[in-house]
């Protein structure tokens, strides 16, 4: 029967329509996941509200967790005073209750052991599990030095473990946020404006007149404040220009969609720069006052005409000119968005440089409707001894490679874990906190080799993710609704802080990361770094120093502070020194030149798919965060698997039907572990396929999401490294379709 819960629905108008939120699940008659399923709705007054900030993604919106009289978490609502969300959480924040309710959660500490030659996990007490992890850390410290213990982390748990690692003596920490995500834009914008973009992005979208998105898919990438501001910009009639091989949601809201041939973005950017300069459309006063290197830039793009770019990008030269003129007409209230996940082709820092240069020509940095000057309030440091000096860290293994890497490169830490790579300094053991490495890091073979090589792995997580399968010890963390974390202080127009306090007691035997890290620290003789009994003491001390208190913050959740660094925007003719080597906006990068890199961005040709293969593009869905939410009952209910988008012409060639399941095989012969449904759609070029990242989980303990959809990460075996900062370019992989189930290799 065709119901509204069918995935594909033909609408009355005859156009194909897909419905979301509508899995074809049948009700199994069990009590539903809300403890008080017998009630319909409870009024807000009958519940208690507890301050939190969200951990389902890393935009960290502040909100209130509502708990009913029976102690059930009923809903999470945004905090009206929070500049990250303005009282409106996104689907993931609203669905955060599912993270708490998920019955697949890790419940007790687990220790790997061998029974009759077979490896299994057995339940352990916290005492035993913590003793074991601490003894392994102690052994490594004695035998190799603490530096040989590495930390992979993401999000709030990371901050507690970073403190532990610094106290212990290791600076070897990495998070995918750098080399698998936004590192290149920080390098590109840092080299140009002397300032990182950071999170939340200081893009003044609400007041912009022209928003240019290059591969950035705001709306599917559900970073809340940005989505809200894009909607405001639409209301105010802003022009949106979207460059994407796929008609993203944002592209569908755009005046111009430029369906570019993937991997050619730099050519388009250079042509836009050419038009702005040679049609005299750039902000001359701004460039003259604040920038350096204009003449070199002008010479550099002399021949980079729209006609030159046409042959490369497939974008019509008239359209390139027209869109450049639109940007110039809106300038300085124009934003060429830096994007967020920008590790694509290995020349990503250079592409980000080109984006930064384009913004400079538009005069948008430090201008209303462009980029504002962000400000955060520092949180006072709780008294503690100085961290010990570590003898080496990941940088010392690089021999001068990736000179602009400012945060640990996860893939380099993996390589340092494999003796065959012959790194000067070796990693022997890991703690992995809050990041699902197998579905995050490209080139699974590298991860597998590294995991096989190290002596010991402890994993801290709320869920039995793919990474927990590699653990020797699993430490179950409670969810953000059940714990305190450090105070959120993030840069914005107005500095603010937010408090995360537990709304309910931790379920099962799970514990907060601050407690886990403290327990390990004390066992390692680092008690001086944990000079408190409860994190409440730390938070209250810090908040009192900031003129508030834990008690007050529990009531208000968010507190704003006045700006101290000056205005949001440059004043007319204001003298301003940029934090670059010359104090100017560097159109020509002296820093890049000093390190032997192109001081002005160049277009490089990248390989294109062979016949029968299609470029694998991946992205995000608004209701999921990476691979960490796909088992969340509420969010799984909205989207329970990914699909592979295929242009109808391609579908015809392969005789693929909507909803048909196929396996994907990449250029190196790697076949997806699970099949994926085909979505035949006009919304994508014929040389590319697209899928949402974060599906294709291979851990059976994830009862809902196991085996649903395919993992893009495992198909990404060709990685193009950014020579500036070590980012792993992941868009150079090509896949073909396998229509029959591949024969599995059986382990003997």
């Amino acid at each position: 029967m065709k119901t509204r819960r069918d995935f594909i629905k033909i609408s009355a108008a005859g156009a194909g329509a897909a419905t979301l939120g509508l899995s074809s699940l049948s009700w199994k008659g069990a009590k539903n996941l809300y403890a008080s399923g017998d009630q319909e709705s409870v009024s807000d007054e009958e519940m208690t509200a507890h301050s939190t900030y969200c951990e389902v993604c890393f935009w960290k919106c502040a909100g209130w967790t509502y708990v009913d009289k029976k102690g059930s978490v009923r809903k999470i609502i945004g905090n009206d005073d929070d500049p990250h969300c303005n009282g409106r959480l996104c689907p993931r924040g609203t669905g955060g209750v599912g993270m708490y309710n998920d019955e697949d959660r890790l419940k007790t500490p687990l220790i790997r052991e061998t029974v009759n030659g077979k490896q299994v996990f057995r339940k352990a007490s916290w005492e035993e599990a913590l003793d074991l992890v601490a003894s392994k850390m102690s052994d490594v410290r004695d035998k190799y030095g603490p530096e040989a213990f590495a930390l992979f982390n993401h999000g709030s748990p990371g901050s507690h473990f970073k403190h532990l690692f610094h106290a212990y003596g290791s600076g070897n920490e990495g998070e995918p946020a750098w080399a698998q995500c936004r590192g290149p834009r920080e390098v590109g914008f840092g080299a140009t404006f002397g300032s990182w973009i950071g999170s939340p992005e200081p893009t003044d979208i609400r007041d912009t007149k022209c928003l240019v998105l290059i591969g950035a898919h705001i709306g599917e990438n559900m970073h809340n404040g940005q989505v809200q501001e894009m909607s405001t910009a639409i209301d105010r009639g802003a022009t949106i220009i979207t460059v994407d091989p796929r008609l993203s949601t944002a592209a569908s809201k755009s005046k111009y969609w430029l369906p570019i041939k993937p991997s050619t973005d730099i050519a388009l950017l250079l042509a836009w720069i050419h038009v702005l300069i040679y049609e005299d459309l750039f902000d001359k006063e701004y460039i003259e006052k604040y920038a350096i290197g204009f003449e070199q830039l002008k010479e550099h793009v002399k021949n980079k005409t729209p006609e030159w770019a046409y042959g490369i990008t497939t974008i019509n030269p008239d359209l390139i000119r027209k869109t450049a003129r639109e940007m110039a007409a809106a300038a300085p209230a124009a934003i060429v968005h830096p994007g967020r996940h920008v590790v694509w082709y290995g020349d990503d820092s250079q592409r980000e440089r080109a984006i930064a240069i384009l913004n400079a020509l538009l005069g948008s940095w430090g201008r209303r409707g462009g980029f504002y000057f962000k400000e955060a309030i520092p949180v006072p440091k709780y008294p503690q001894p100085k961290y010990p000096h570590h003898k080496w860290d990941w940088k010392d293994n690089l021999d001068g490679k990736y000179p602009f890497s400012a945060m640990g490169i996860t893939t380099e830490l993996l390589k340092a874990s494999i003796p065959e790579f012959g790194y000067k300094h070796q990693i022997k053991s890991w703690i992995v906190a809050g990041t699902n490495l197998p579905l995050t890091i490209p080139n699974k073979e590298l991860f597998q080799m590294a995991a096989d090589s190290v002596d010991f792995i402890a994993v801290v997580d709320t869920m039995p993710m793919d990474i927990t399968g590699y653990a020797d010890v699993i430490l179950p963390e409670c969810t953000y609704l059940e714990r305190y974390d450090y105070i959120r202080s993030a840069p914005h127009r107005e500095p603010s802080i937010a408090l995360r306090a537990p709304a309910v007691k931790p379920k099962y035997e799970s514990k907060p990361s601050w407690w886990i890290a403290k327990q390990l620290g004390e066992r390692l003789g680092l008690g001086d770094y944990y000079n408190y009994n409860d994190i409440e003491e730390v938070l209250d001390w810090q908040l009192k120093k900031m003129g508030t208190s834990l008690e007050e913050m529990k009531k208000i959740g968010v507190k704003k502070f006045p700006r101290k660094s000056g205005g949001l925007y440059l004043l007319p003719n204001e003298d301003y020194e940029f934090n670059t080597s010359t104090g100017k906006i560097e159109l020509y990068s002296f820093e890049f030149a000093d390190h032997g890199f192109d001081p002005l961005p160049n277009f490089t040709e990248h390989p294109q798919p062979e016949e029968g293969f299609y470029r694998l593009i991946y992205g995000r869905a608004p209701m999921h965060t990476f691979s960490r939410t796909s088992n969340n009952p509420n969010l799984w209910d909205l989207m329970d698997e990914n699909s592979v988008w295929v242009n109808p012409k391609v579908a015809d060639i392969w005789e693929l039907k909507n909803g048909q399941k196929v396996w994907l095989q990449n250029q190196d012969g790697v076949v997806s572990s699970f099949p994926i449904k085909v979505r035949v759609t006009e919304r994508i070029r014929w040389d590319s396929v697209y899928m949402v990242h974060g599906f294709g989980h291979n851990d059976k303990k994830l009862s809902r999401t196991y085996g649903r959809g395919a993992s893009d990460s495992e198909l990404i075996t060709n990685v193009m490294i950014d020579p500036q900062m070590g980012g792993t370019g992941m868009r150079g992989n090509f896949v073909t379709f396998i229509k029959e189930k591949p024969i599995e290799e059986v382990e003997s």
Binding site: A12, L20, W27, T94
Partner: protein
């Protein structure tokens, strides 16, 4: 008083937040929903358009579901809100068949359930859960008879359409185009 909702298809990104917020507000079991997202695609590459719509019960003036209900469980209350009294519903499903918008579902506890325009919240002066949460603020709700209500103002300056007008149900969801 005549409650209605306008949905700005130019702003909706189809994130599904309205669906989750409704589920948690109204304790709708996982696997069911009172509101949902529809994506319509038209045209062919590269001249493609999509329309995203947050849909729910249309709270029709001429409601086939109320007319066909054998027990009177389906009824209309103040402001034109179509409601189901759960303990009067025998779960026969006639209303589900009669609805051109597929807005009703059988609750696992045996009754038919649907959007109430969050009348428990309206009674307290709050707006509906979906409107309150929408990150793009693309949902407008209020009294059509009040020219200053959000929904009246939204409809004033924009072109709009309703779904399945040919069914003659006089639906009260307006899609801004």
């Amino acid at each position: 008083m005549r409650y209605a909702m306008a949905i700005d298809t130019k702003k909706c990104v189809g994130c599904g937040d309205c669906v989750v917020a409704c589920q948690t507000e109204n304790n709708v079991p996982i696997g069911y929903c009172r509101d949902w997202i529809v994506e319509s695609v038209a045209g062919s590459y590269p001249n493609v358009e999509i329309e995203l719509r947050s849909e729910r019960c249309n709270h029709c003036d001429n409601s086939p579901c109320v007319r066909c209900c054998p027990t009177g469980a389906s009824h209309i209350v103040e402001g034109g809100i179509v409601k189901v009294t759960h303990n009067e519903c025998i779960g026969c499903g006639a209303c589900i068949q009669s609805c051109p918008y597929d807005a009703r579902y059988s609750h696992p506890e045996g009754y038919v359930d649907k959007c109430t325009f969050c009348d428990h919240r309206l009674a307290k002066g709050q707006t509906t859960a979906c409107v309150a949460v929408c990150p793009t603020s693309c949902l407008y709700f209020g009294d059509l008879e009040d020219p200053n209500s959000d929904v009246s103002k939204a409809l004033k300056n924009r072109s709009w359409k309703v779904l399945a007008p040919e069914a003659g149900t006089k639906p009260q969801l307006y899609f801004l185009t």
